[in-house]
Amino acid sequence: MSAPYLQAEGVEVSFGGLRALQDCSFTIDPKRITCLVGPNGAGKTTIFNVITGFLKPNAGTVHFKGQSLDGWSPQQVVAAGIARTFQNLRLFVELPAIDNVMTSLPQQSGEEPLAAIFRPLHVARAGRRRRDEAMAILQEVGLADRADEMVRNLSYGEQKLLIIARVLATGAELLLLDEPASGLSAGALDKVMTLLRRLQSEGKTLLVVEHNTRVVQQIADDVLFLHQGHLMARGTPQQIISDPALAEIYFGGAL
């Protein structure tokens, strides 16, 4: 039997006296959309931080394709093929949309000052090729015509699409998306959901934090229900949403 695609095992994270994750274990399967749901404070973003190397767990491990990510830096995790977005976007608002995407392209010539100074022609040529790559990614998310616009001038819906473009540019195969659909109008929401489905059909694996049950029902293959820092249930969207005990936790507040 081959190793699970992504496996979290017994992950514990404490902030002072607060236990954000306790004995949190789950696996996710490749080329599927897995939604991570649960009430506020369930530990959804915390597990993202652990997987992507931003937070060192007090205990437990995360394995990606059989390899332990223990002690890896965010850069190493991205290089291994896992990239994440942030709930509050964290776009570079003073840069044009295309520069936001280009920043994420891996291994660029001219990212070191010496190359920039001593091989300017090579850097410029490579830069034009990388720009085409970035344009293709913007095209994919439907923002090609906004490439040179400063991010602060983009609508919220466009920013949400751009954040997906930026994570795609890393070339990662596993995308961790923190609330990609929150705060969107119906039209923008459809665009994002269509995009996520298309990325899956292109071979990406998606782990998505999502609150909107309609979105979960429409895009998720699997749903993980997190509560008080550990996995409470796992199932299809229908199984999770129709479970009265989970609904009570999710909508009714505390147990």
Binding site: S73, F86, R90, T103, A169
Partner: protein, 287 residues
Amino acid sequence: MDFWFSYIALASIYVLLGLSTNLLVGIAGIFSVSQAAVFGVGAYIVAYCLMNDVMTFLPALGVAAVVCVALNILVTLPALRVAGDYFVVTSFGIQLLATAVFINWTAGTGGANGLPGIPPPDLFGYPLETAAQVVVLCLAGMGLGCLMFWLVMRAPFGRLLRAIREDELAVAAAGKSVLRAKVSAAALAGAFAGSAGAFYATFLSFIDPVSFDLDASILLLTLVVVGGARTLRGSILGPFLLLALPQVLTLIEIPTTVAAAARQLIYGVLLILFMLFRPQGLAGEKL
């Protein structure tokens, strides 16, 4: 020496310093008030090499640049460990330490009396003795510095630094090393400051600790704030405008002792006014 020669040479040297400060403070967001110390180390190294016939000007400039690269990495390393506000205090300490060394290490630096009689620069053994020749050399140094700055800022490295200034966490999430980029920026800033020191020592033929003290570091910040952060034209405009100020003050009939104090006062007031009312400087972006 003719006023214009002196003005142009000094301004072009300060453009190199402006580029250095701009890279470190404006672009990498490392708020250092010790760049004049690094500048001073470059100047003393070149003075020592030329006065003791250790080597000629260009190799000495190279040595100064390399030492200042190393020094600037060392000096800014705490910035990568402590948060911004704390680093200001750290770099303040580094500046005071450097000034203390410049003043007290009389065997190496001539102490408070400074080092007089630094030989003029030479190019491949050919001494540049006229003012015009030295001005051309300083302008060439400035031109090369500007070209390097321009190349670096239009390359992916420049974009990475701008991104880091906005959001370090997002840069890390994009798979890039924030530490590596900042260290590179500090290194390049060190090379610019060290080279500026080389031109300064040989152009004036005299250096003393006053040129590299805290006031000098604050002048470097003022250059960037007034000229404009993060742009090439801002880094050129700031020095050329602010270095004209002492000359303008000589036109007004006030005693020289008052003029020196008035200059510091005006620099200080300009710094405050620009930060309050025009943070992007004359030709830059918001600091």
